[in-house]
Subunit: 233 residues, 2 copies
C-alpha cells in the first residue's frame, strides 16, 4: 500500500514533487495505471492512479476521496520540553503519531538543557509516521515557546501537568472528560521547578501522576498519549 | 542518585567491577563516604557507602537492604519478533523496562526478516534502563526461539496474540484477569501468517486488538505493555 502526503491537493489531477516522483518511479518502480493513496493531512484520503510515470513530475489522476478519514473523538495537545538528545524527541513524535496525537508544542523550561529546536526535521518524522501508519490527519508541530507563555494561553481544554515532585497528584483516569480537548505539559530531564508547577496550577493545570515508575521525559509524554487515547476508546 | 547494578551481591561489603569502579570514581568523582544505591535485579535494593574509592576495585560497605523493592502485582511476558532495524528492539526494551515488564522472548516467525539476535547488547540496554528508572528487578531476556516452540510451551498464563488480520478480535481490557500472569505475542513487520495465528489459537492464545491504528512492531509491543500495566493499576 503506497501512501503519499499531498497537503496541497485540490484538483482532479496531482503532480508529485520531484522527490516523491523519484521515490514513486525509481524506488517503488510503479508505472502507468498503478494504484496509490494520498493523504492531505487534513482528513482527506484519496485513491489515485498514475497517469504519467514521469520520474521528476509524476502525474496522478484522483479517483475518489474520503473526508474525515480516521477522525478522532478527542483532541490531544502535548507540550514537551525537548530532551538534550534530539533522537528521543524524534522517537516520541513517531510513536505519538502512530498512537494518536493532534498537536505538539516544544516548551523551554527553567531547567531545559536544550533551548532551541529545529522543527523542519521533526516535521519530516511526523510526515513519515502518518504515511507509515495510514493517517489522513497530520499532527501540528508548533515552534518552541517558553513555558510561561504556553501556560498563560487561554484554551478551552482540560489542562494537566506531569511533574516528579511529591504530593497532591491524581491520575488522568480519575479526571478525564471523554471526547474532549486535552493539554498536558511534560517537563525537562531535571523536572519542572517548584515555581513552574505553582504557575501552572495558578493557570488551572492539574498535577497528575503517570504511575509509580520514574519515566524519562519522552516516555512520560508517550505514557500520557497512551492513557488519553486508551481512555477515549 | 547513583545506582549500580550488582547481581552477585551477597555480603556486607561489595567490590565494584573495574568498569563500574572507573565510572564511580573517575566519571561521577565520588569519594570515601559517598552514598550510593545498589540493585541486585532480584528485588533487592541496597544503601551503601564507599569505603575505599579505588578507581579499579571500589570497595563499598552495605548499610541496609530493602527486599521486594517495587514488586509488581502481575507478571508480563512479551514475545516479539525482532525488527529488521535492531534499534527499534532496543527502544522497545528501554521503554518497556521503564513502564514495567518481567520477561521478553525474541521469536522467529515465518515472515521474520531478522532470524537471529544477540542478546548481550540488548541486556545492557535493559540494565541501563533499570538503573535509570530505579528498578530492583531486572527483566529476563531469553534467547530467541522459533514461534512454534514458544506457543506450544505450557504456561499457566493468560495468552494473547496481536495480529493485523481482520476478524474476531477483542480488547485486552475485556479479557484481562487482574494481578495475573500474561504472555502476549507480537509479530514481525509483515505480520504473522494465517497458519501461525491458527496454531496460536489452537494453543489457547486469544487474538486481541490494540486499537484502530496500524502500529509498527515495537509500538504494538509497547502498547500491549502499557495496556497491561495500566489495567493492573
Amino acid at each position: 500500500m503506497h501512501i503519499f502526503y499531498t497537503p496541497d491537493i485540490n484538483l482532479e489531477t496531482y503532480i508529485l514533487s520531484e522527490e516523491e516522483s523519484k521515490h514513486c518511479i525509481k524506488v517503488l518502480r510503479l508505472d502507468s495505471g498503478s494504484l496509490l493513496y494520498l493523504v492531505d493531512g487534513n482528513g482527506g484520503f484519496y485513491d489515485a492512479i498514475i497517469e504519467d510515470p514521469h520520474p521528476k513530475r509524476t502525474k496522478l489522476k484522483i479517483l475518489g476521496k474520503v473526508e474525515n478519514f480516521g477522525k478522532r473523538n478527542h483532541y490531544l495537545h502535548i507540550a514537551i520540553a525537548p530532551t538534550k538528545n534530539i533522537e528521543r524527541v524524534e522517537w516520541f513524535l513517531e510513536k505519538a503519531t502512530e498512537i494518536g496525537i493532534d498537536e505538539i508544542t516544544p516548551i523551554i523550561c527553567d531547567r531545559s538543557e536544550r533551548k532551541e529546536i529545529k522543527t523542519e526535521r521533526l516535521n519530516k518524522v511526523i510526515t513519515s509516521a502518518i504515511k507509515q501508519s495510514i493517517k489522513a490527519y497530520h499532527p501540528k508541530l508548533n515552534e518552541a515557546v517558553r513555558f510561561n507563555d504556553l501556560i498563560t494561553q487561554n484554551a478551552n481544554t482540560q489542562k494537566f501537568i506531569a511533574h516528579c515532585m511529591d504530593g497532591g497528584k491524581v491520575t488522568i483516569k480519575e479526571l478525564l472528560i471523554p471526547n474532549s480537548n486535552y493539554l498536558i505539559v511534560i517537563g525537562p530531564e531535571g523536572d519542572f521547578t517548584l515555581e513552574e508547577v505553582e504557575a501552572a496550577v495558578n493557570n488551572n493545570f492539574i498535577p497528575v501522576s503517570l504511575g509509580d515508575s520514574r519515566l524519562r521525559t519522552e516516555t512520560a509524554a508517550l505514557e500520557a498519549c497512551f492513557e488519553i487515547n486508551f481512555l477515549n476508546r
